[in-house]
Symmetry: C2
Subunit: 329 residues, 2 copies
């Protein structure tokens, strides 16, 4: 290693941030990919990147897509991209897999299914692993969204895998959250379990040509009616629609895109869009600040002292609170 | 409010910790429930509780159970309880739902399905919502496990809902992690997506009487062979078994219990059990210490300053790093 490359990850050439940003804003997929990789790597360059991107953000519509494995998320995403492209929109897809350490391999299936858009220069598709990041989605995803927003995409679809915390988080990041369901994925109680009732702005029953789709739709309507309405500004109510699609054939997808536009209009007219974006920024700033606190305290937590304390806690000699006190002292 | 109740949550009578612990250790479900509620509420009494419990911990075998919705987790848990009871073990079930803000309602389905054990005094079943806690499972679950451990249960089954971060976390908490699958829940790529290949000690293909069970088993074996072996001490290998069950009928469940015992023997003989428990204690101490740091910084993060900064970030006037710096300054 010579002095010129000291302190940089090996195998990477120096990055000129202003140039990279200029290229990303001109639509270079390579530059966009590079910037998102900086986010994934929690690069020290991110400060400079985010400062340069900030003035160019706030344009994109951020649409979250979530649902259990097997409901057809990837197919639905692909169909939505097709529909949005018909309207002339530039579209980015960010597939976030909070459970996998793999950035590429784990989402290979999605990529295969999305291949029909592979040659379209106005579609950008990226999978991102967030497992390595403390705080999961909350840390890395908003910054990847900043990159795509500044790169001028009209709509960014954020697709998350799985059911659980990630859903709740994606709902916090998106302007509009779509929750996908499908017949045959478990009963109503399962749906309630997944905590999906609190997070969706639009519900989509995919595979609507299969047995049981009408039942899923009815059960869901019943549960949505019982659950509290999505908190909107006083006096306004967004009646969460339940739509049916057969994403594989594109059936019903135009209606979903229409519902997204209607929800957008609702968000804008009520001032809720601005509130959601401030809330998102709040989380983002907090996470970065907490990350910085964690970094400062990393020296402590990586210490041999913690190992000794943990061993004493494991044997029951010490309780974890006393150990934490000793660690912080 | 009179002075006697000042500073306590309204509607709650004073708690005498030593008495509560004595009752819990004598097997009172009411006292155990009360202690776990203190965990859920992040009560200031927890310090005292955990200090008193510490000497009584380390006995219970902690078995994690995870898998996508619909694979039959609740039914499998119930069948495992039945089998463990045949061996005379006292068994606790902790059902953790990281996606739901509900402590009770969301897991109603589980409770219904577990009702066959409702009258057995040596079985304790509790659902717990962890969504409200910063850090998800990592904060509250280990402390609830401490309560159950100190209460003298021989085996604690920790069941998590969903696929995602929660799985990875439950694997970190358990001595032995069972990953459940079932035919018809999606293809092999879906399984890989869920990140389950890295976390299971024992794999169970439930609903093995259905079409496709053999295929799930074969696909899984192929993937397990390709993936890195679970890190054990040098020179030791735990060959992760793939078992088949029809939990509804209890078929194959005895073999699962046997595999859990074999894995336990492996953990003990290799010293891996102690290592896993130190690792768990390490996470626990770290989370508590971080919680304390968060509390200290809560005054900052709850401040009007953060709101102002977030609003400036939302409009693109400020980037989130600069905002975080200003917040920390």
């Amino acid at each position: 290693m010579n002095t010129a490359t000291a302190g940089r990850p090996s195998g990477r050439s120096a990055v000129a941030v202003p140039q990279l940003i200029e290229q990303a804003r001109a639509g270079s997929p390579r530059a966009i990919a590079r910037l998102i990789t900086l986010v994934e790597e929690a690069s020290p360059l991110l400060r400079e990147v985010m400062a340069a991107l900030a003035p160019h953000t706030g344009h994109a519509r951020i649409v979250g897509l979530t649902g259990s494995p097997g409901v057809g998320k990837s197919t639905s995403t692909s169909a939505l991209v097709t529909e949005l492209r018909k309207q002339g929109q530039r579209v980015a897809v960010l597939a976030v897999d909070p459970s996998s350490p793999f950035s590429g391999g784990a989402l290979l299936g999605d990529r295969v299914r999305m291949s029909e858009h592979a040659t379209d220069p106005d579609v950008y598709i990226r999978s991102m692993a967030s497992r390595g990041h403390l705080g999961g989605l909350s840390w890395a995803t908003p910054q990847a969204l900043r990159v795509l927003d500044a790169a001028g995409f009209d709509t960014i679809l954020v697709e998350t895998v799985g059911v659980g915390q990630s859903e709740v988080e994606v709902a916090g990041l998106a302007d509009t959250t779509l929750v996908l369901l499908a017949p045959g994925m478990g009963d109503g109680i399962q749906a309630a379990k997944a905590g999906i009732l609190e997070i969706g702005d639009i519900y989509v029953v995919n595979k609507a040509d299969r047995d049981g789709a009408a039942q899923v739709s009815r059960d869901l309507r019943g549960m949505l009616n019982l659950s509290a309405a999505i908190a909107g500004p006083p006096g306004t109510v967004w009646k969460r629609p339940i739509l049916k699609t057969v994403a594989q054939q594109g059936t019903g997808v135009a209606e979903v895109v229409e519902a997204i536009a209607e929800h957008r209009a609702f968000l804008v007219s009520t001032g809720e869009l601005a509130r959601r974006r401030v809330r998102r920024a709040r989380v983002e700033v907090e996470e970065i600040a907490l990350g910085e606190l964690r970094r400062r305290w990393g020296a402590v937590s990586g210490s041999a002292e913690l190992d000794v304390l943990a061993a004493r806690v494991a044997t029951g000699e010490l309780d974890p609170y006393t150990a934490a006190d000793e660690l912080l002292a």
